[in-house]
Symmetry: D2
Subunit: 319 residues, 4 copies
């Protein structure tokens, strides 16, 4: 009595360019100067026009679809935490999980509270505290971790131009008191091994990378491809790690709105305060959307809406 | 260069009886009197033999596979929160979400802390506080909510024998000071509308239901079937609600171990302190596993292991 | 080179009636409908005219000075926690301090947070949680604790008319969800031994007592008299306990404004949401002031001001 | 019926040398290698012999009594927070209280939790966070705040040898990650105005001062003298400020054991992790006691005992 299941991985039944165009129309109709707030803690972020909107899809078949400002580079900020986590797991193996947890934080993304209760073990690698520990791991395992991260980003995205935004890098270093506090606090528990300044330098470097939606969608294709980057056929990480990074993105990727995100979008995703969000449809495709105004949790307001519309139109939610 | 995707929903490639048998062997080899602790806050739970193990799978095609003690009824406890949420959404619609959130709690499951900071709005419907609000909604919408829940459970599981465990029901009512505290606390914020005692009665009733693995696996098939119960063809809830209930199970279904669960299992799931866990593979099947010893978060230790093994052997994690 | 010290205990150098008159003038000049908020969680408290002001001083020599509405009875609310603590220490001895702490709470007065972190041991006997444990102790040690408390209040104040305000008592019992929550929560940790309802009945009884400023000033004279009530010569409690109750009043007597109170007033004091505050000048006198509008911590706004003026004019701060 | 009050300020009835000798005997009888733990976060503190014990009293009449190792200098650590608060109030006036509160913290002394909830305003000037803000104020008001503090210490104690312990100063600068975290965290809220490094330098300087019991008892005589240093007749601070600093010492001077301290000792006091405690009997005398082993709150275990015995023997508790 149950009809044979459709293969949800068969993209041929979806008109992806048409879907992107519809989403762009819907998003642009919702542009509203009063909703959301572009990150303004440093001038270089505050000056980004709030009307920017781009979206890109990279399928496992190697196709890329994009719309709007998908070629305009922006500050990737916390999205880089996905990539550094992948590199750190590669370098340190599962021993990494002794130094950082895998639970949602249930608190604002830069909270110090849980760190104190849990003896300097950050709740997960996607809050700032956890990313600082991940950066510390990279420092311990790579001779030149900045170069290694840059090479990884360029290779994964296929864009050799990926680089650091000097202005943002300088600003964040100058005003990042809270991250400096975090790093010293973790160091006081012994969960940072290298010089605090070196850890912070690497962390501010990864946040200051500039990439566009197409770059970013491509850069996480290996998470849709069970660890293999379909463009190059390279195994980036194991099947198991790929699966698990997706799981951590689902439960921890969007600050303390992961529940809302799972509810409305239903995909593993990672956001950044630059307004970008990457998301993964396991076994099918990866996406990136960009719209600068943020909701009060720090996630792109219209970016989340665009992803919500995408899973509604395609039925590609994992749930 | 990318081979055409396999249809992950095609169960014909999996030997489900063989997989269940293997899992049972593995689990029984891990029985260890020292690991995990059977819930003992009431005698009727403490007396359940810790060696019990059952597991059942209900596919969308209507097949049921089971192993071990899958026909032995046990106290479903918090698993009932999935069913009452479904009924309450049916009764109150999305207005329910104004009275209960959808975020992981980040705190032990019966914590009062977040309730206080968030003015009596429980973080999600799967912590005790949230389930009390859900029970309050049922009381406002049904003439006889206990009868309605019992009818729902019997119809969904296809077992007309489903009923209340008298001893557990009596014990929990007598010793449930913490839940009484919770209900009165929420009432003090105005987020419980009915008499506190009536809300608690309904809550203790739902926790005291006895069902077995086969019943429970069947009872959540509609969450695998996009809201439709495949056995009867009945639409139990909308596609969207089914999807979203799965999302809430993923991020909030296993107390404050949801991140670990997503990481190791990768399926929407809901556990109970009776040692049962239900899980859903969207579009494919639903499962229930039972093993009484709990980990320190209150989830069945070997039940989680069995689900982990299941997704590893079948590749059916949503990630 | 240091002149011989004045005896600060010599009241003859102070014109107490003149000081009270001056304070009344100053307070009445500050009456302002916009400042402070009369407790309104029950109608019987909300209906008290906000312009009420009374103040009374009871010296160790047996003199009583008063001004304004000092003879008008009001709901003493939490002030009764001083008297029940005295009785409970008498009954249970220092073993009481195993069940309740002596540290400021650092949190709003009815917070559940610390209780959870500290396993049901309230921070001090002057927050609601602590007073419930104190009430539990009285229930365990007295055949009729309500009668014992009433007798104590009448004897200490010299007013045989002291009694319960029926309307307030009924309202608080009906709407006291938060206190019901607290009591059940503490019971869940095993730190309440009697029936929760009996503990709550006694607690609501003590809060619902009606007394006036003169009664209340007299009722705590034993805390100025090193444990001896100067009117009757009765030893009410030991020197050591008297000293220590004063210490607990200083650090915990005014909810989470004890630091502010010590800073501005400098006397051991206990406030109630009915707008009353009792205070003690050790070895010299006791006072009570009453003005219904409360600050955001729940202390009488003008009551605190009046006490501040009193210690400034007399130099009788303990510091 | 009440006998004329004794003048409690009349020291002639007390045999202070005899009392000190008795206390020393009692303390030495309680020396026990298993109780208390000498601060060991830096080697220079860990190496102090745990059997050290000294105590000194400085009366308003100019007399000094001492016993044991009262002339042996030790690291004053947090005791210096009393002196910097005095200087900062002198420099900035009551505007200081907009940047730091006056409430007990209710949390371990270097907690970051409350800072986060209260937007970078430390709870009081005697927790590390508050002392960092006080140091920031000194930096804004003095050309050379280290010199100013040193001059104040030398003048108040009458000991021109008071200086910095080089080893401790170097160690704390090198390992003070938690204080570096605190300072950066407060800076992120804008409540530190100067360079974070300069604030930390001053803070580590004040903690690294070496003084003995006699120096320290003398150094706070102005708090017993209503703001006037009896030795020199200098007005150090106003009566009101002197009174209020005592009040803050009472409610906040001993980390999160202020309630216990008020209960057992009943005097305004300030402790340091070097094992020293200064205390004040307003209008009468000031004291300092030193014994390195600390209780789990960070206060000198036998120092607290010695002060408790002192107030019991003399009746000089303010309560």
């Amino acid at each position: 009595m149950h009809s044979p299941p459709q293969n949800p991985h068969d993209l041929s039944r979806h008109d992806l360019p048409g879907i992107l165009a519809t989403i762009e129309d819907e998003v642009r109709a919702r542009f509203d100067a009063r909703e959301g707030k572009v990150a303004d803690y440093i001038p270089a972020l505050a000056s980004v026009p709030r009307e920017r909107f781009g979206m890109a899809i990279a399928t496992l078949d190697g196709d890329v679809y994009s719309v709007g400002d998908a070629q305009v580079p922006f500050s990737i900020q916390s999205i880089s935490k996905v990539h550094t986590l992948t590199l750190a797991l590669d370098a340190a193996g599962d021993a990494l999980w002794k130094r950082v947890g895998r639970e949602p934080s249930g608190d604002p993304f830069n909270s110090l509270v849980q760190l104190e209760h849990e003896c300097g073990i950050p709740r997960n690698p996607f809050i700032n505290a956890g990313a600082l520990v991940v950066a510390d791991v990279l420092l311990s395992h790579y001779d030149d971790p900045e170069a290694a991260l840059l090479a990884f980003m360029r290779e994964r995205s296929g864009n050799a131009e990926v680089g650091r935004d000097e202005e943002i890098w300088t600003s964040e270093r100058r005003s990042g008191y809270r991250n400096i506090a975090l790093a010293n606090f973790i160091r006081s528990f012994g969960n940072i091994e290298n010089e605090v300044d070196a850890v912070l330098d690497l962390y501010f470097f990864q946040c200051a990378l500039r990439m566009n939606c197409v770059d970013l969608a491509r850069s996480v294709r290996y998470l849709a491809g069970r660890g293999v980057c379909p463009g190059t056929g390279t195994r980036v990480t194991s099947i198991e790690r790929s699966t698990r990074i997706n799981a951590v993105m689902m439960t921890c990727g969007t600050y303390d709105a992961a529940g809302e995100f799972a509810f409305h979008v239903g995909l593993p995703a990672k956001s950044g305060v630059g307004g970008g969000i990457v998301a993964v449809v396991p076994n099918v495709l990866s996406l990136c959307v960009w719209s600068p105004p943020l909701d009060d949790k720090g996630n792109s307001l219209l970016g989340a809406y665009a992803l919500h519309r995408f899973t509604r139109m395609t039925g590609l939610s994992v749930f």
